[in-house]
Symmetry: C2
Subunit: 529 residues, 2 copies
Amino acid sequence: MPNLLGYNYIAGARSAAGSVVLQSFDARTGEALPYRFTQATPAEVEAAAQAAEAAFVTYRSLSPERRAAFLDAIAEEIDLLDDTFVALVCRETALPEVRIKGERARTSGQMRLFAQVLRRGDWLGARIDRAQPERQPLPRVDLRQCRIGVGPVAVFGASNFPLAFSTAGGDTAAALAAGCPVVFKAHSGHMATAEMVADAIVRAAQRTGMPNGTFNMIYGGGVGEQLVKHPAIQAVGFTGSLKGGRALCDMAAARAQPIPVFAEMSSINPVLLLPAALEQRGDAIATELTASVVQGCGQFCTNPGLIIGLRGPVFSHFVEQFAARMADQPAQTMLNAGTLQSYAKGVAALQAQAGIRHLAGSPQQGQQAQPQLFQADAELLLAGNELLQEEVFGPCTIVVEVADEHALLQVLRALHGQLTATLIAEPGDLSRFAMLVPELERKAGRLLLNGYPTGVEVCDAMVHGGPYPATSDARGTSVGSLAIDRFLRPVCYQNYPDAWLPDALKDANPLGIERLVDGAWSRAGLTRG
Amino acid sequence: MPNLLGYNYIAGARSAAGSVVLQSFDARTGEALPYRFTQATPAEVEAAAQAAEAAFVTYRSLSPERRAAFLDAIAEEIDLLDDTFVALVCRETALPEVRIKGERARTSGQMRLFAQVLRRGDWLGARIDRAQPERQPLPRVDLRQCRIGVGPVAVFGASNFPLAFSTAGGDTAAALAAGCPVVFKAHSGHMATAEMVADAIVRAAQRTGMPNGTFNMIYGGGVGEQLVKHPAIQAVGFTGSLKGGRALCDMAAARAQPIPVFAEMSSINPVLLLPAALEQRGDAIATELTASVVQGCGQFCTNPGLIIGLRGPVFSHFVEQFAARMADQPAQTMLNAGTLQSYAKGVAALQAQAGIRHLAGSPQQGQQAQPQLFQADAELLLAGNELLQEEVFGPCTIVVEVADEHALLQVLRALHGQLTATLIAEPGDLSRFAMLVPELERKAGRLLLNGYPTGVEVCDAMVHGGPYPATSDARGTSVGSLAIDRFLRPVCYQNYPDAWLPDALKDANPLGIERLVDGAWSRAGLTRG
């Protein structure tokens, strides 16, 4: 087992001034691991935010290539985290080794993707309108715009992706790429994992000469509130529950200076099973859907929590097949005791609700999560029942049967915002159900056809976002390269001399990037008008 | 005088179900004009929001060219508003004819700029990552992303730009360009102007076949709150006071579904006078700065409200010259009685503050605004005095003298967020004060060198935005083509057939736009991977 210090990371040093000590546990056995972490004191939270603030001007002024080299170095250090590390993550989260190895690759891959974005340069949003001294009735001055980081960013990691959505996860990568120092609040469910990843980031920062304070990490419950309220913090990234995310949003909105919060919170990811597809391959769909529901013990933001079909013998047959397969699924260990407790509570609430019937699943008891299948009356959803809109985090899903296309549209419109919306369809369904697409576009950030939402590709075109409560701001994504946009703001320079302009806007275009010059895209160097 | 109905604009029809009647006044004389407007009832506000919602899917699904033609038609209709119209605007606002004619051209110019943006297509943010079925360890599916409008937008116009920031102003243009229907709340200071402009928009909508409900306008006090809280409204554009803007932000953040508010609120637009420039051309600067302070009776968001210089005989001489010129400036009529009342209150507060001395200006009395010049101790600003950070809307400015470069940096850091920050400098100042630039970048959306902030060019590179309280979200601008970004959200299509994809993402690239394909920008048509 690795030897860990358990101190906070502040301004490139380690600090443990407090007396509140937090324990890391084996997620499978509940046994205490030999790792203890010292909760950050108010003074340490303050110091972490100030360290990020102090690093900001230097860090954001580094060339995109310097920051790209930093992200590449983080990727290398993460790839070097060995089997001992993987075993530790597995112990803290009960996630299987193959998953953690995949997530390690995804996490380093994300860093490399943002390094590529930095080198491509479109994130800078460079726009130049040259002076027109002869213009009538008034001359135009030289105006140039590009984007800079908003300032220090507070990041709250997720329990369910201890690597890809945590210490060196997507939000951290996007913020660091944007030129924003990060104060990361370590998740209580994988504090030892967080420490090893933070060490990797710190090694990369040292290797590439990043300023102290570029990355900071603090441990503890309650430290998040102080962090979000700190005047130096200019934006927040969060992945977690609706309750937790909304609380952060409310705090941020109530600040003397309100700041944006990008919270990825709650989605039930509707899957619409269209009749031709069910007729042609209903059994295969039942098998595939079951696998998607129980994969990783259902602990995905994009887990399919609502399955909708059109009433009739084909759908009834499908539901039988689906129930039979769900009944066969074994119990699985969840990320931690709190997650299991929430799951049991969610399942119990569904069981107690009139209009919802239990179709499959062993009684929820013991130390593991039992996969569960329910069926709900469509009327319940149309009547605005909140239970059907709430994510039950775990291997549980609900089937809803609707009478016809009209009812299908009604049910779709009654849904809250979603990360994903999926159609399972055959060519015969496509023209009949084309009217669904505009509705789906309003409801979700990602629309899938004949796939299952539980795979999220990290790429330029991905949107892992969506209307509230899927996220707090539908204009952002927390996966994929567009995530950098959340942490950038535009600045305009009027009549500035070349020497004072950022490289992105200098006449000679030293970064060699695409720029919008006098209304047309160009990579050319310029002469002043 | 034109004949006006005074009814609300809802879903392409006129409606006046209420009994509260509002009066339009001559801003110069206070005389009632022969125009009365019926305040929207709660049912009418509801109907306006629902009309926008009902129009949304159809309107946003129109081709960019169709929407561009609509914006061009609005521009034509605005250009056709004749001298009778100009005279009416002048009566309602007390702004001079030459200014209103200029603003009319700016307003139609803004519409045409957004039409150009629609045709250029970069606002769509098209990104395509093609399928890689052979990729190891897992295949990649086809993923395509572009941006669509967020939904109906509520717009609150400004008092000080009855055309360019009002009914058919920048926020309306940006929202309509983005595919978002608008519900506009007419400003009480120029309701007749609003009606004539709304008529122009309606004529353009009819000529170009836009759906009813694409543009709606309601009159009245208090209707704004209901509008911002309406579930159909998905974003808000606002230009006005800090108090009003913050109230809308707080309402929007407290909704069951919080929505973004883009409020342009309060900025004092610091101007730093550097020593070599003052030495070389202090008298000219005094003249130019005076003109900038009193232009349009100081009723600009970018009015220079804080003038900072380095202590010494050169600056003392400048202050004398500046005071002499300010003392010479005539009183001017403000936009309305409320604006004058606020100005008098702001001036009185400065007069009553210890540490602030009155340098020039006749006693504030009567029906016009007297230009005023004050000098404040730098210590007051450093001590966090709020009075010095608050915009006094009108022809008033404050001089602050600092001891040295260090004190200059301290004062800059003590300032809140700004729309603009200006340096008046000569080559001799540039290297000595280069350290100011990173500080200015943090404080403001637009940095000027040797210009005055009271001219805002409408172009691609403009940023009329900035950190709080200049705006509620530093990531946006309310002037220039980037303003469209505020009302767009990304949607990702996974494995969708060409027929179901928006034109921006179809294989053949029928819009002929630049797209990010597999990580590289291209206008080429595609074959599927």
